[in-house]
Structures are given as C-alpha cells and as structure tokens.
Symmetry: C2
Subunit: 299 residues, 2 copies
C-alpha cells in the first residue's frame, strides 16, 4: 500500500509523459485502466480504489492490470495527471477579457494582476477537487508530475513573476497555496464521504453528541463563543482562508515593493548595500553580465 517499491521512477516518468496513446482495438490499455480507475475513485474515494475493483469494472482479472501499470501508486499518479488535464482545457492561456496589449508571459498589474490570477488558479484547483475529491487524498512526497501537473504549477508560478517577490518566495507562496487548497478539499471530501457512508449529515451527527457537550462548560473561550452562536452559520472556509492567505501574500509583496531597488533585478536576491560609494544594481558580476546579454539579444 504505502508507496510500493515496485518499478523504477523513470518508468513512471515515461508513462506519465507518453504521447496520447493510440488505443488498440479490444482488450486492456493504459488509458482505459486509468479512466476506469478515475471513475471508481470519483465514486468511492482513494480508499475505495483497489486493483480488484478496477479490474472487475473492466471485466478482466486483477493481475491483468499489472501488464500495463507497475502498481497501484503509479496508477494514482497517472489518474492525477489525467484529471488535471480537464481543468487545463478549460483554462485559456490568457484570460479572454484581458487586453491583448499585455505581454502574455510576464504578469502586468493589469487584469487583476498577480492577485486575480492566483485567485483564479486557486479556484480552478478547488473546483477540480470538487469534481474529483480523491485528488486531495493522495499522500506521499514523491509523486511524479505529469505534463498537466507541471502546466498548472507553471501557471501559478507565472502569476507571481513580475512581482517584487524573491524567487524562493514565489515558490513558497505557490506551495503554500497548493497545500491550502488540498487541505480544505480534503476536509470537505472526508465530510461528504462520511455523510454518504453513514447516511447521517455532519450537523446531525455532531448535534447528537450531547454526552460531549455536557463536559465543555469549564472551557471559557469556547463556552462564550458557543453562546454567541459562533458555529451556527460558519464562514465559507475556502473563501475565507483564501482571502486571508492572499492578504498575507499581499503584505509581503508590498513590503518587497518598497525595498524593490535593494534587490538584484536579475536574480532577485537582496543586495548588500555598501556603506559608501556608488550603490550597486546587481548582486554580482555574473548577474550584471547576464542582464547585459539579455538587453543585447532583446534588442
């Protein structure tokens, strides 16, 4: 179960980045297996995804799958990239209502700027996880990205180029945002699954826990908030969290903006300011030279 040793990672890369497969007429194929697995996981979650059930759904034996997929873990990687393709088709390279005079690559402050773009990307990721809740359930730190995953990642990184953030900060923000979306989606997925499995809504279930509530009197802050009905109509936790996060990022970006000229325009690391003499623009000869070459080739 736990990320089996089966198959080497490079084989995984080959599978993920294979060209759109020409499906042979009858029988099994990678594509068919992956699609069946996605359907199954959509219905039953990652826990409910088993090689047996996928095989049954396709009308083959369990072991037949292993002729095409190294193992369960790699199958999940393939499923991931498969569904990440959906959102990508719906995502235009540039927003259709954006003015075409903006360069497509670097984010200007037009069309909502970095914030609009990031929020849009986060929302798309969120909606994808509503369609495929198991996406947020995927565990493990060594999942190979397929082309679609990388495209999403690149898109989010791109939303922040042009800001005054340092490169490592851009990466950190995108990672943070991604984990936020997954955490919220995971919570929702678990809630829903538990509701549909037990037939009891979350509200009903917690509402029936009288034997618990009896014991909560001695907790002051909780009791106080309870009396004000703080849990009665909760904030939309995704929207609320996203706003807080983006606000936090905005604070950082503003901070960096103010000290923008204390940063190397080429590589983004902070400049060490000398006590006297002409203030330097680049952090090193290497960056100075890189910038020079870039100016020359550009035009």
């Amino acid at each position: 179960m736990a990320r089996g040793v089966a198959g080497d990672p490079d084989h995984g890369v080959e599978l993920l980045w294979r060209d759109a497969d020409r499906e042979p007429r009858p029988g099994l194929s990678l594509g068919r297996i992956v699609r069946a697995a996605v359907e199954l996981a959509d219905a039953e979650g990652l826990e409910g995804l088993s090689m047996r059930k996928v095989a049954d759904r396709l009308g083959f034996t369990t072991m037949s799958l292993y002729r095409h997929v190294p193992g369960r873990d790699q199958l999940v990687d393939l499923m991931r990239d498969e569904v990440l393709g959906e959102a990508l088709d719906a995502a235009p390279e540039a927003a259709p209502d954006a003015p075409p005079d903006a360069p497509p690559d670097v984010a200007p402050d037009a069309d909502g700027g970095w914030r609009g773009r990031l929020e849009e990307a986060a929302r798309r990721a969120w909606e994808l996880r509503l369609r495929h809740p198991w996406l947020a359930e995927v565990r493990g730190s060594r999942h190979l990205p397929g082309p679609n995953a990388v495209a999403h990642y690149d898109h989010m990184l791109g939303a922040l180029t042009g800001t005054a953030l340092r490169p490592s900060e851009v990466v950190a923000v995108v990672g943070l945002l991604g984990r936020f979306v997954d955490a919220e989606a995971l919570l929702l997925a678990e809630t829903r699954r538990e509701e549909s499995r037990s037939g009891v809504s979350e509200q009903e279930w917690w509402g029936a826990r009288d034997s618990l509530y009896e014991r909560l009197d001695r907790f002051p802050a909780l009791s106080r908030l309870w009396e004000t009905g703080a849990w009665d109509d909760p904030e939309d936790s995704f929207t609320f969290g996203l706003r807080r996060l983006l606000d936090g990022v905005e604070v950082l970006i503003r901070e960096r903006d103010e000290s923008r000229d204390e940063i190397c325009p080429e590589c983004g690391t902070p400049l060490e300011t000398a006590p006297s003499g002409r203030p330097r623009v680049y952090c090193s000869r290497a960056c100075q030279q890189r910038a020079y070459r870039k100016r020359r080739s550009a035009g």
Copy 2:
C-alpha cells in the same frame, strides 16, 4: 479500516473523558494499550499501526485488545488525546513573562496580543507534530475531541477573544490555522518516512529525475525560476506560511477594528445602521438584555 461502524460514538466519548485510570496490577488496560500504540505509531506512522503489532508489543493476542477498545479508529482517537496532553503540561495558562495585571481570560493587547499568543500556540502544535508525526496523518471529520484536544482548541479561541473579529471569524481563523499546521506537518512526515524507508534523501531522489527535467523546457515561468536557483535554498515552509497567514488575519482584524462600533458588542454580528435617529449599540433586544445582565452580575 475506513472509520468502522464498530461501537457507538457515545461510548467513545466515555473512553476519551474517563478519569485517569487506576491501572489494575497485571494484564491489559486501556492506558497500556494506548501508550503502546503511541510508541508504535511514533516509530512506524499511522499506516504502520495495526492491532496485531500493538498486541504483539504487549505480549497478548490481537483480539484481546478488543476487550478494552472498540476498534482501531477509537484507539487512534484515544492516542490523539493522550499525546495532546504532553504539550498541555508544558503550556502555562498565562505566559510566565506576562505582566500579572492582565486579566487571565480575555486577551489584552499586551504580551504580544492575539498575534503572539496565536503564533505560540501554532508553534506548540507544530512541535508536537514533530514528536508525533502521525498526528497529522489522522483522517476523518468525525473524531471526537478528548479533554486535551478541547483545551488546546479553547486556548486558541481564547487568543482571539478581545479582538474585533466576529465570532464566526474567530472560529474560522482557528480552523484555518489548525489545518495549516496539519498540512505542513503532514508533508514533512511523509517526506521523512519516505526517506527513512527508501534510504534515499528527498534531494537525492528528486535530483536523480533527469528524465523528468528534460521535459520541462517548454514551461517558461518554471524554467526562468529554475535558472535563478529558486529551489536551491527554499524558505522554511512552516515559518513562511505562518507569517503569511497571521499577516492575513491581521489585515482582517485591522479592518474590523476600524468599523468596530458597527458591530454588536455582545454577539458580534454587524449592526444594521438606521438612516436616522440614535445609532444602536446592540443588534437586538436579546443582546441588549444579555449585556445588561452581565454588567449587573459582574459589578
């Protein structure tokens, strides 16, 4: 596995909130089982926690455990509250260096105010998850809180009482922060486990994925950042994320502070301002009366 139907929740509550158990001399007992399970999970993670192994560790048969614990899921709930007790012992009710003139219950803006308190609480939660990585691996939306879990929750809620946040926002912030800590801890736990299982460090593993990097040229933002070495020494993702989050919360609090008097001081919901006449202080007769009674009993 997936949150079995075994045992009713109320029984779970009884177990979680039982008085410190007087351990009978020999044989099994709830406490002993829970402690053995914690040790096991510390070493092997939640995936590695099985009833068989816990029983072996104690020198009993698997099924003997079921005389004391309804099932695996409830055992995990018990483990959770067990270790949450650790951090609680280390957490003083009021910070020792805080001036004693501050009321202990409501957070003043002294001693770092809400932000210092929240950050401290988040850090404690983080450190606990470094000691017990499996804490972040617990899945499911219907885990009963034990006394220690509630104490932590209450403490975080308390850090935000006294701010201008609305009650539902206090709850949302604490939830958001909790999920953030868990998400970061989960990532780290998975990374570490994978490293120790495979004997290959994360850096090495990803560094060896040449067959992947070959294909990343056509992604502009990613390539560009790559060249600047954005991944070479990454931000500390917990500290970075925590700062962003708290900054975001601070933005909201400031916003609420500015319009503080447009909010019912009793229940926190926004006031509807009438076009003319004396501006109302409370949102309803009910709240007005509640506040009156509180003034009377306090004075």
